[in-house]
């Protein structure tokens, strides 16, 4: 078990679905050969297909103390990284419109803003996802080569790019499907929680660049960190699919959409535009308490009172949102 654990809290009520995090991550880490289709950070509309398609339904993780089976997602499940032949149209006089290739049938953000219907009322929200840097990483356990490890100083889970043999058991084992195979290098790759940045005291690219300012980063075990406060003091952030057994270290402040038409002023318990069962599916049964708590806090503020939890979620500046402690977690390798 690591001595410290970096964690991230994402407040889904502030997410814009803008994918700046996705691009921040992509341009920094996966702008190399073999990485075109992979998004270590992705943002998906919920309810929805997800990326890769149906990742939440195909298996992996722990049950009764053992790893659960899962198929490997196909390229269609991830979505191809389309290429475009601009030259023929723009410079060669061929007159063919520029078209994506291969023909689009699926994609990493294919069902953006679609969501679900609830008695005629549409509902959706965005779910940004990175590797959860789990306390009990199923990926780590599945690797026969022991090339995946949890950094002892900060709990970040990484794949040794020298020792990985590309067996891909980790991809199957991860219930969040947050490991991707690089066909060019023959290695599996995943989110590294931006350890090179954290080591220099800079917060993760996806957090630093998030204009929604909804990501909070720090050590879960540091009582001063915003993640500690949100998860353990205010108790308004929950992990995704807790029953998959890996104990994620990424937490979410669950979303509440506006009431359905005609129900203005009704409590979320009476009129959940997003069905509470769906939220329970994602975040476990505790979500009901958390949503109720959040709603009460919001009411307090909107009636002129003050909520410490919401004041923290406002996250007025980077100093409030992030507490990166490179000195504390330093280790002699």
């Amino acid at each position: 078990m690591s001595r410290h654990q970096y964690a991230m809290v994402m407040d889904l009520n502030k997410c814009l679905g803008c994918q700046t995090c996705t691009i921040a991550c992509k341009k920094l880490w996966t702008d190399r050969d073999g990485t075109g289709y992979m998004y270590w950070n992705n943002v998906e509309t919920r309810p929805g297909l997800g990326y890769p398609r149906q990742w939440d339904r195909i298996g992996g993780g722990w049950k009764d103390g053992s790893l659960q089976p899962s198929p490997l997602p196909t390229m269609d499940d991830y979505g191809h990284a389309w290429e475009y032949n601009y030259e023929q149209r723009l410079y060669e006089g061929k007159r063919q419109p520029v078209m994506p290739s291969p023909e689009p049938k699926s994609g990493c953000n294919w069902d953006e803003d679609v969501g679900g219907m609830n008695a005629d009322a549409n509902y959706f929200f965005y779910l940004p996802r990175i590797c959860n840097h789990c306390t009990y990483p199923a990926c780590l356990e599945a690797c026969p080569r022991k090339a995946i490890y949890k950094r002892e100083e900060d709990g970040i889970v990484v794949i040794d790019q020298d020792r990985c043999q590309g067996y891909r058991y980790c991809i199957k084992a991860c219930p969040y499907k947050k490991i991707y195979f690089n066909e060019v290098t023959g290695k599996s790759e995943k989110c590294i929680f931006c350890y090179p940045r954290l080591e220099k005291g800079e917060v993760n690219a996806c957090a630093a660049q998030c204009p929604g300012r909804l990501r909070f980063v720090g050590l879960l075990d540091d009582p001063e960190s915003p993640v500690h406060k949100l998860v353990l003091v205010h108790k308004i952030a929950l992990p995704l699919f807790p029953e998959k057994g890996t104990q994620p270290n990424v937490f979410y402040v669950p979303p509440f959409n506006p009431p359905k038409i005609g129900n203005y002023g009704k409590s979320i318990q009476e009129d959940p535009r997003v069905p509470l069962d769906y939220l329970t599916y994602l975040f476990g049964p505790e979500v009901r308490d958390v949503i109720t708590r959040l709603e009460a806090e919001l009411k307090k503020q909107q009636e002129g009172g003050r909520s410490e939890a919401l004041q923290l979620l406002i996250g007025r500046d980077a100093e409030t949102r992030y507490r990166i402690r490179p000195q504390l977690v330093q280790i002699q390798v």
Partner: protein, 921 residues
């Protein structure tokens, strides 16, 4: 919550390192109430990767990726209201990535800061710089226009060709046959000025953009006498009631949306009014799924409720608006001094002073000697009918604008409004009540409502709501419109650089009118029984709107830079087959081959946003920050500044070679000696480089006096003051900028005919068309069943990033039209089908996405798609045509006069309708 994980009973035989420090496993974490803990299998070998790992040297692999040689601050010039400061990272001479600079200074400790500003598009601009679309060399067309056949030319050859043509036109057809189009100075004023200076010195016609793109809210010049005034976005946080009306901030205000959602956590309520359940609606407390085109009636219904329930701020209304002003019952004209006294002024107006029981002149109107609107103890009546004695001796009945307004509003009963908007009556009532009581309250306004034909009426109705409730001129309140980066803060410095001999000596032209008249456009509708041509003729004849070139001539040369005219043009097919054909020289200056470049004759490669020196500002924030050269302009490209300087030099050279005599330009009595053009253009040699041009602007504006380019390369700087000629509030330390404090606090007159927020426009055309007051008019009648909605979206800034591979991969790879499942079912359409969208104007073929959030009866395609990408046929503008609203052609009415991008007909497009069918492909 869960039972604790017991650290004394480790679940695997490996045990845990027990350290003094807390570890994740010892914390009582939510969602971990499983009784069963995973049992990690027995590991062979001598290490346990869950505890420790012996081979960590490889970690440098990723560390090395996050390295660079150089960081340069720059930004984007895409007509994006965002205006975000970015750091560009350069490694081995290649621009590898960018990251928000995130160093905007903070306004005060309570307000959330502006960092980081930037979106996903800004985060991958570097990819454009090296993309196949990037223009590398000057090109001259060899095939048909738009065919994409070119030959590479030298700069010398290309510039000579352009120079000769421009000079020929001037001498043979007149300087007004050379037309210049470039948008939005604020996004890169130096680049803008490079070309505007050339237009200025050669007498060319400079075309408008903000009205043409329908981003100008015409209700603002009408009501307030300004172009657009809005608070900076940090001020949203000061609000207690935020109404998102036609503005999908999660998509279109990505760097600023957080202020609204954070304001909510700070106690504001958010109302979202939009036909589609969208990415901003999900954040609202109250969501109104309004019928398209009915926003105006909702606003007027709410106004009626506010007045009926006495939820108005009467002292504010009496002092700050024209609602107490007197109107003659017969003529419907304001009561003027000229009515009461022989030789009286046309621009002095009256209210009924209840204390003195007489009609008293309002202070602060255009003709008033008083430069204040302070009432000095008078108490204007809001209601009532009164008798006044006219100069001709007769008595006349007068009443107040407020009385007339009440009469106008009486038709907008709750039931009628509910029925027309499709909203529940009791929720409209709750909304009105909250708008009247939660203060400060603001409307964040966008293109969703501004792009309708009756946008002026819609604007005026919305402004009315925040005026009645006394919210304008107060932090956290107001009507705040953000569409396009229209406003340049250091305005006076900019004007001096852009049009050195002053704007009086420049030919300006409203583009909507220019494009309509110089093409085969034909609006089939009649307005009060007359075709729009009648109104255009009258307007031009009366000198209300200019129409260049004069005397029925056609424009001959068209120079486009920093813009994508053809792709973005309403009625694009109509223009392509007429106006475009008549032009005999089209020059496009660009860093990428966009649709306009593709359909040009000469294409000149420009430096990208990361290879130039310039500045950038927006009404979304109160800072200035620069463009910088992360690399020298790539390939053979040059900065816009250098391109136009080279063009000026080449024209001078050609003029000298040909021995051209100076040209006398009668319009301005200006003798233009083109052999001296380069000398003139560089300000007699004083402004040679773009950095000098930046410093010229900074040094000549109140907002930025004392700043230099080098300083703002270090850090964005907040404006130090505002020029009272240009702005309506001061910049105050520690306070977010909000407009109209000069009026609300300092009691300075509004910039209107009456010196007040003017809801009553007594211009004869307004009276004839029944629009003297805000009223509701139905969208323009069109035959087809589905509204064609082409809003701004998250994936592009207009056409920029529409053809960007990294962005396309996060969408569906090409243009998509969104349709409600019911509409799709009715037409037998499936998700991802190829569909043909058509109306009597034209058609296009693209893919369908079924979207339950879309409103039935409407289809949406986010705008800006390049015509060459993803459409099997046509494009998104193939279905639109230019439709001019007569009321927007007026001029010479007090504060309502033609001014470039301030007042002139808008290129609206929301009323267009279409049908959709399965395409045969």
């Amino acid at each position: 919550m869960s039972d604790k994980i017991n650290p004394k009973k480790p679940f695997s035989r490996r045990g845990f390192i027990q350290t003094a420090a807390l570890t994740a496993a010892t914390l009582a974490l939510p969602g971990c109430s499983r009784k069963e803990k995973p049992v990690l299998s027995m590991l062979t070998g001598d290490f346990d990767p869950l505890r420790t790992y012996p081979y960590r040297g490889w970690e440098d692999f990723y560390r090395k990726i996050w390295t660079w040689d150089k960081v340069v601050r720059s930004t984007h010039s895409a007509n994006c209201t965002g205006s975000c400061s970015w750091k560009v990272y350069v490694r081995n001479g290649v621009m590898v990535r960018e990251e928000q600079a995130a160093d905007y200074p903070r306004i005060n400790a309570d307000l959330p800061d502006y960092n980081p500003r930037g979106c996903q598009k800004g985060g991958c601009f570097t990819e454009y710089v090296y993309s196949p679309q990037r223009l590398r060399y000057p090109l001259i067309r060899t095939g048909e226009r738009g065919e994409g056949k070119w030959r590479r030319a030298s700069w010398d050859e290309a510039l000579t060709l352009v120079s000769e043509k421009l000079l020929d036109n001037i001498y043979n057809y007149g300087p007004d046959t050379n037309s210049f189009f470039s948008v939005i100075p604020a996004m890169s004023p130096v680049s803008f000025c490079a070309g505007s200076r050339l237009a200025h010195y050669i007498g060319g016609v400079f075309l408008s953009f903000y009205d043409w793109y329908c981003d100008l809210p015409p209700g603002e010049p009408l009501t307030w006498g300004v172009q657009t005034e809005a608070c900076e976005c940090a001020d949203w946080f000061n609000s207690k009631y935020i109404v998102l009306w036609g503005s999908n901030i999660s998509q279109t205000r990505i760097p600023d949306a957080h202020f609204a959602y954070e304001a909510r956590y700070n106690g504001a309520k958010i109302v979202c009014i939009s036909p589609d359940y969208n990415a901003s609606a999900t954040h609202a407390d109250l969501y109104f799924r309004i019928n398209p085109g009915t926003d105006g009636i909702l606003a007027l219904g709410v106004a009626k409720f506010l007045i009926d329930q006495d939820l108005i701020d009467a002292p504010y209304v009496k002092e700050q608006t024209d609602l107490p002003l007197l109107v003659l019952a017969g003529s419907k004209r304001f009561l003027r001094e000229s009515d009461l006294k022989k030789g009286g002024k046309e621009d002095i107006f009256y209210f009924w002073d209840t204390k003195q029981q007489h009609a008293a002149p309002t202070p602060g109107s255009m003709g008033s000697d008083q430069k204040t609107i302070q009432l000095n103890g008078a108490d204007p009546a809001l209601t009532g009918t009164f008798q006044v004695q006219l100069a001709n001796g007769k008595t006349a009945e007068v009443t107040t604008v407020f009385e007339l307004l009440k009469k106008e509003l009486s038709q907008y009963t709750l039931d009628k409004v509910a029925a027309r908007t499709g909203l529940p009556a009791h929720e409209i009532e709750l909304f009105a009540k909250e708008l009247g009581t939660r203060k400060p309250a603001m409307i964040i306004h966008g293109a969703g409502t501004n792009h309708w034909f009756h946008n002026d009426l819609i604007n005026r109705s919305f402004i009315l709501l925040v005026a009645l409730t006394g919210n304008i001129g107060k932090n956290g309140g107001g009507f705040n419109h953000y569409v396009g980066q229209e406003r340049i803060w250091p305005e006076q410095g900019f004007f001096k650089l852009a049009f050195p001999e002053t704007r009086k000596k420049q030919r300006f032209q409203n583009t909507t009118l220019w494009s309509y008249v110089h093409s085969t456009s034909k609006d089939p509708h009649l307005y009060n029984g007359k075709p729009i041509e009648w109104y255009i003729q009258e307007s031009v004849k009366n000198g209300w709107m200019p129409l260049w070139p004069k005397n029925g001539k056609k424009p001959r040369a068209f120079i486009v830079w920093r813009a994508n005219y053809l792709n973005q043009a309403k009625g694009n097919e109509i223009l392509e087959s007429s106006l475009w054909k008549d032009l005999d020289l089209i020059v496009d200056i660009n860093y990428r081959m966009d649709t306009t470049a593709l359909y040009s004759d000469v294409v000149l490669p420009a430096a990208s946003y990361y290879e130039k020196v310039d500045i950038n500002s927006t009404d979304c924030h109160s800072y200035i920050h620069p463009f910088g050269k992360a690399c020298e302009p790539l390939f053979e490209s040059k900065t816009d500044w250098d391109i136009f300087r080279a063009l000026a030099e080449k024209m001078a050279e050609v003029a000298t070679k040909k021995g051209l005599k100076p040209f006398h330009d009668d319009a301005f009595d200006w003798t233009r000696d083109f052999t001296q053009l380069a000398h003139d253009w560089t300000g007699k040699g004083t402004i040679q480089t773009d950095e000098q041009a930046v410093n010229f602007i900074l040094g000549n504006a109140e907002e930025t006096k004392g700043m230099t380019y080098q300083q703002i390369q270090q850090k964005p700087l907040r404006f130090i003051a505002t020029d009272p000629e240009s702005w309506n509030s001061d910049i105050e330390q520690g306070v977010a900028y909000t407009p109209f404090k000069h009026q609300a606090d300092k009691k300075r007159p509004w910039r209107t005919l009456t010196g007040r927020q003017q809801f009553y426009i007594d211009h004869p055309w307004y009276i004839d068309l029944g629009e003297e007051l805000p009223t509701f008019k139905e969208p323009v009648e069109e035959k087809y069943p589905l509204y064609w909605n082409t809003p701004h979206g998250r994936w592009s800034i207009h056409s920029t990033w529409r053809d960007h591979r990294a962005m396309l991969r996060l969408q569906r790879g090409g243009p998509i039209v969104y349709m409600h499942p019911d509409d799709a079912r009715k037409r037998g359409l499936q998700d991802n089908d190829w569909v043909r969208i058509h109306n009597e104007v034209g058609h296009c073929v693209c893919r369908l996405q079924i979207l339950p959030g879309e409103k039935p009866g409407r289809v949406t395609m986010y705008h800006g798609w390049e015509k060459f990408l993803g459409f099997k046929q046509g494009g998104w503008q193939s279905l639109t045509y230019i439709k001019i609203k007569p009321t927007q052609l007026i001029g010479k009415y007090g504060h309502v006069n033609f001014r470039l991008n301030y007042w002139g007909p808008t290129g609206n497009n929301r009323d267009i309708k279409v049908d959709v069918e399965k395409a045969k492909v």
